[in-house]
């Protein structure tokens, strides 16, 4: 029996997830720039400082490598930190700690040490923040053995993935697309944790498989609706987990529809779409009736002006065109 | 090898069983004991020779080609086999 769903937002769902985790486990604490007194640059942790105090909602100086490394060290020391890197753009300063320490220590120490840390970061473009604040680098992290990477796109996932990630003995990175924070929807107050592995079929279909994740999900669903109006039944797969990828779900869908288009806000070369496309070619080659399509960002530093930013990012018309090409229309 | 199926009914059932083995696609069909096997079941010569070989293996009865026409229905087959075995 779950309580009556209430109207809420993606941002509040993440906040609720943090509050729930801190209440449940004394080892859990939030650490990051402006997460405390300021309430988070995307207002995700607003109010938590007053509720839990400076020890557990811990503001840090602008030292991404320092506090991310500290989060990793604290996890090795028995805590369950939630490190918030304001955006993926600043995570480049902490790459060494994430790649050479978090992802590596367990294997390199011969299995002696665990790093149960969760690192959350906002990602993606669409707010005209220009090149240095608009990166989509999930595929970089999704290629690193030793960490898990998830991209919650729905309110349920935003609310439910954090606790599962905190219970995981290995490092988990959570990417929250900036354009999702304001999404509204209904969510029952006592919805619980959800798995951080496995893809989800957000829309069933037979003629074509649209594969996407995170911020691109709603553009992809919109494209699927338009296709439906033209008599094409498109299936939409939300990857949810970017490492490990849910090959079984992808191949099951492509096996049925024989056509696949992948929508990914990362740059085309070396994108996650490239990896998924390679796996489809390897595992479902004989089911393919058309080349796998990819709709990605233009390979350009994301420009500031709205019309150029829109032109650079994957949009619904581009998804429709790729779908039609796959259908051989 | 003394056939265990001594009675006529057992012989007919054995014949039917071997017929299904030869033509598994007949499994769902009900085969009346007096139905003409060649006509109603569309058995061709290959099915027939395989069926007879199976009866030979199972019952030890060597049915010469000249006797093939006498295996027109399951009942007729049971009578023929009973006669051959009864001695």
């Amino acid at each position: 029996m779950s309580a009556e769903p209430i109207e809420t937002t993606y941002r509040e769902a993440v906040r609720e997830a943090i509050r729930d985790a801190i209440q449940r486990d004394p080892r859990v604490f939030l650490m990051g720039e402006d997460v405390g007194r300021y309430g988070g640059c995307y207002a995700v942790s607003k109010g938590l400082y007053d509720e839990f105090g400076p020890e557990r909602i811990r503001d840090t100086p602008l030292s991404e490598s320092g506090f991310t490394g500290a989060g990793i060290g604290a996890a090795m020391g028995g805590m369950r930190p939630i490190v918030e890197i304001m955006t993926v753009n600043f995570s480049l300063l902490a790459l060494d700690q994430i790649v050479n320490n978090a992802a590596t220590i367990r294997h390199m120490s011969g299995g002696q040490l665990n790093v149960p840390v969760v690192i959350r970061m906002a990602c993606g473009a669409g707010r005209q923040l220009a090149a240095q604040h608009s990166h989509s680098l999930e595929s970089w992290y999704a290629s690193i053995p030793g960490i898990k990477v998830v991209a919650p796109a729905t309110l349920e996932d935003a609310r439910g993935m954090l606790w599962t990630a905190l219970e995981d003995p290995d490092p988990v990175l959570i990417f929250e697309h900036v354009m999702l924070y304001n999404r509204t929807g209904r969510l029952s107050p006592d919805t619980g944790p959800v798995p951080i592995e496995g893809a989800a079929v957000r829309r069933a279909g037979d003629d074509l498989t649209l594969i996407t994740y995170g911020g691109s999900l709603y553009k992809t669903l919109e494209a699927a609706e338009t296709l439906a109006a033209e008599g094409v039944s498109a299936e939409v797969i939300d990857l949810r987990s970017l490492r490990p990828l849910d090959d079984a779900a992808i191949m099951a869908s492509v096996g049925k529809t024989h056509r696949a288009v992948i929508v990914d806000e990362g740059w085309r070369t070396g994108s996650l779409a490239a990896e998924v496309s390679a796996r489809i070619m390897e595992q479902a080659f004989w089911d393919l009736d058309a080349p796998v399509g990819r709709v990605c960002s233009a390979e350009v530093p994301i420009p500031y002006p709205k019309h150029l930013e829109d032109a650079a990012l994957p949009q619904v018309p581009a998804i429709l065109a790729a779908a039609k090409a796959a259908l051989g229309r | 090898m003394t056939p265990t199926e001594t009675t006529r009914e057992q012989l007919r059932d054995a014949a039917l069983e071997e017929l299904i083995n030869v033509a598994p696609d007949l499994a769902e069909e009900t085969i009346p004991p007096n139905a003409d096997l060649r006509e109603t079941l569309d058995l061709d010569s290959m099915d027939l020779v395989n069926w007879i070989a199976a009866l030979h293996r199972r019952l030890g009865v060597d049915i010469p080609e000249l006797d093939y026409p006498r295996l027109r229905t399951l009942d007729a087959t049971a009578d023929y086999l009973a006669a051959r075995l009864g001695g």
Partner: protein, 331 residues
Amino acid sequence: MTDPADTKLHLNRDHALHLLREMLRIRRFEERCAELYTEEKIRGFLHLYIGEEAIAVGVMQCLTPEDAVIATYREHGHALARGMPMTTMMAEMYGKQEGCSRGRGGSMHLFYASTRFYGGNAIVGGLLPLAIGLALADKMQGRPRVTACFFGEGAAAEGEFHESLNLAALWQLPVLFVCENNLYAMGTALERSESETHIFRKAQGYRIESESVDGMDVIAIEVAARRAAAAVRAGAGPRFLECLTYRFRAHSMFDAQLYRDKAEVEAWKEKGPVLRFGHWLEETGMLDAAGRARIEAGIEEELTAAIAFAESGTWEPVEDLTRDVYTEPRA
């Protein structure tokens, strides 16, 4: 054995001999490693601690089993002083799976969870934020423990040095910073890389109590470390020791040492920690030649057993390649 938490050093004969033996164990272990490297038994990189033994041995006397220790790729001495058996360490140097890190880390990545030895870390400065985190965890869980982190003066130039010292001071974390200043960051002399060459003064910039100590004098090191560790353990926040020392051998095995001249090396060798402390023990009658020979023989025996252990070690099967990438075997 004196109590690690005691703030004062009681230098009786037993303790003195213990200090000498610990330094000699490091010296002889590393001399043999140099030989094994030329015979291609040890591969990859090999960074030797010969000449700096007094620091690891002196500081380790002030740490309890619950304290944490984290060091760099020049960590054989710290690992030995922190209780890692010579056998599993040598097996690790050979890359055998009986090594402390299953053979996967090698000389630069010795880990030993049972004595909270959080390894060799090969990225200069990379260990500093980890030390901050370990201390943060202790503080948040109310445990009166010390995290001792050892690093070279080269790390002072890394951004993470500034970020870590600031966090340690800002959050008053129980960290003992031990900077082993051996005057050369690989091929670059200190004057050519640091505007302020007195590293302990940098630490004072973050309002961290810090001092400079003669890294060649094991007694001086232990006295300073006791005082600092006691303060840290009492919750008085981080402490910083800059230990002036010198490495008698190259940065690593493949180094023509063009950056320093031989006379300087010989001068520092005269002030070496093992040489000086050995003479002092003889002059004060605490140790005669026979006693010294017995210590050396015992170490030789331990070393021979360690090499035999490593030689008879086995290679990790290729099928285990991906084991422990994650905690549970991936489905």
